[in-house]
């Protein structure tokens, strides 16, 4: 039944797909993850803060981001960031940001909202007594957070955090709409040029599956490795 297909197209284009496409996909994933976790942790601490305006601001941001489809956010930022940039630096013309930088900013800001909620759950999973114990020993807020709460919270939420990152890895394919050559974008270009849609999209799906499945498996192993002795 596969007689009419030309599987050779995969071999011919593989170099281009991985060199150009996958490199961008991985770079975007890593940048958005790093930025998202840092920003997400800050947002989570704001949401849990006793300073009401901070908590409200972070809560509003998170709820907004989580209520809008990612595809829309990508468009939004692509068209809005140049104007915001111009407003910030006081320029008359919209700042040329470019699709790639725009996508990095978008994914970082979008993922931060999800990482924030994971962090918040992780921080709240630490019993209040642990914070009391830190304070009672004379540790201040930042020391208690940094040495007592966050290290435990990170361990508890690591599986969810990494799973969210695997979802992010798959979601980066949405930059397709900005005509960026990510892995899917590169495959789509070849598919349309050579008229080999079925072959290319099937290949792309297999590659995404293998990588995501492998990463999920690694998450389980890492979880076992990081477990605290004497605890589940």
């Amino acid at each position: 039944m596969f007689a009419g297909f030309d599987w050779d197209v995969i071999q011919r284009s593989a170099g281009y797909l991985f060199r150009e496409g996958m490199t961008f996909t991985v770079t975007l994933t890593v940048l958005a993850m790093s930025g998202g976790i840092v920003l997400g942790t800050a947002l989570a601490m704001m949401r849990l803060s006793s300073v009401k305006p901070l908590a409200l601001l972070a809560g509003g941001y998170v709820n907004l981001m989580r209520s809008v489809p990612l595809l829309l956010v990508i468009f939004w930022f692509y068209f809005l960031v140049p104007y915001i940039g111009a407003w910030v630096i006081g320029a008359k013309q919209p700042v040329q940001v470019g699709a790639i930088l725009s996508s990095v900013i978008t994914f970082t800001l979008f993922e931060a909202a999800y990482y924030c909620e994971i962090m918040r759950a992780g921080i709240q999973s630490i019993p209040r007594g642990q914070v009391w114990a830190g304070y009672a020993l004379g540790l201040n807020y930042w020391q208690t957070m940094g040495t007592v709460v966050l290290p435990q919270a990170f361990r508890n939420m690591l599986p969810v955090l990494l799973t969210q990152t695997i979802i992010l890895f798959q979601d980066t394919s949405l930059v397709y709409v900005l005509s960026i050559t990510d892995f899917l974008g590169a495959a789509a270009k070849v598919a349309q040029r050579d008229g080999r849609l079925v072959e290319m999209y099937l290949f792309v799906a297999v590659v995404y599956f293998i990588i995501s499945f492998f990463l999920s498996h690694q998450v389980k192993r890492l979880q076992a490795k990081l477990a605290v002795p004497g605890r589940m």
Binding site: W132, A133, A136, L137, G138, Q143, V228, G230, R231
Partner: protein, 244 residues
């Protein structure tokens, strides 16, 4: 000389008053046991001493320093007062050694070797030297609580607060913890202890404070409290926990 002075301490959760004008003091070298029915405010009261629980009225003065004064360096004040919790609250992601050394290094600025050596000294004292490399989850409840006491002592506290230190322990482990506390009391440590262990109170407490519904109902010398409690509520409480 009063090490801990509480003056008219009152606290509300919303409109519900959990502490009503609590006034008492703990002298240097004195052991004071706080008892009372659950929900009477004992744990809340003891947590006011090192400001883990904020209060709205009154003041607590520890070694001459006011807890309510906004200018007070609370972390510094807390570092001088040891506290032991019902659920031990050792840091589960750190070895026993690191639990003992953490605050000594971060708060007191001691070099790590000195902090570890000091921690070991107190770990040996509570009889757990050979467990230094373990994690809290690998120890029994009684052992964890003894480590928690060693952790507090490593900070060279001027007073120790115990918040129901044996309530979460299996019966066979209660004595190993009480023994350490009795030892401390005999050495002259200033102690404020929330507990239902009336045997411990009889043995080492100089005074007993009885609380009910957020009030200090009785504040008496140990022999007087057990011999001739003045209030009806204390009589009832004692009959409930002593005769069964």
């Amino acid at each position: 000389m009063a090490m801990i002075e509480m003056k008219d301490v009152s606290k509300w959760y919303g409109t519900f008053q959990v502490l009503k004008d609590c006034t008492t003091n703990v002298d240097k070298g004195e052991v004071v046991v706080v008892c009372g029915p659950s929900g009477s405010g004992k744990s809340t009261l003891i947590k006011c001493v090192n400001a883990l629980e904020p209060f709205q009225k009154g003041d607590v003065v520890v070694d001459g320093i006011s807890v309510a004064d906004p200018r007070t360096d609370l972390p510094k004040l807390r570092s001088r007062v040891g506290m032991v919790f019902q659920h031990f609250e050792l840091f589960p992601h750190m070895s026993v050694t690191d639990n003992l050394a953490l605050a000594q290094v971060k708060v007191l600025g001691r070099p790590r070797e000195e902090a570890v050596a000091r921690g070991m000294k107190y770990l040996e004292r509570v009889g757990l030297k050979e467990h230094a490399h373990k994690y809290p989850g690998q120890l029994s409840g009684g052992q964890q609580q003894r480590v928690a006491i060693a952790r507090a002592l490593s900070m060279d506290p001027i007073a120790m607060l115990f918040d129901e230190p044996t309530s979460a322990l299996d019966p066979e482990m209660i004595n190993e913890v009480l023994d350490v506390m009795v030892g401390l009391a005999h050495e002259g440590m200033t102690m404020m202890v929330v507990t239902h262990e009336m045997g411990f109170a009889r043995k080492v407490a100089h005074r007993v404070i009885f609380m009910d519904r957020g009030e200090i109902v009785e504040d008496a010398k140990t022999d007087d409290f057990f011999g001739k409690p003045r209030s009806e509520r204390a009589v009832q409480f004692l009959s409930k926990i002593l005769h069964h």
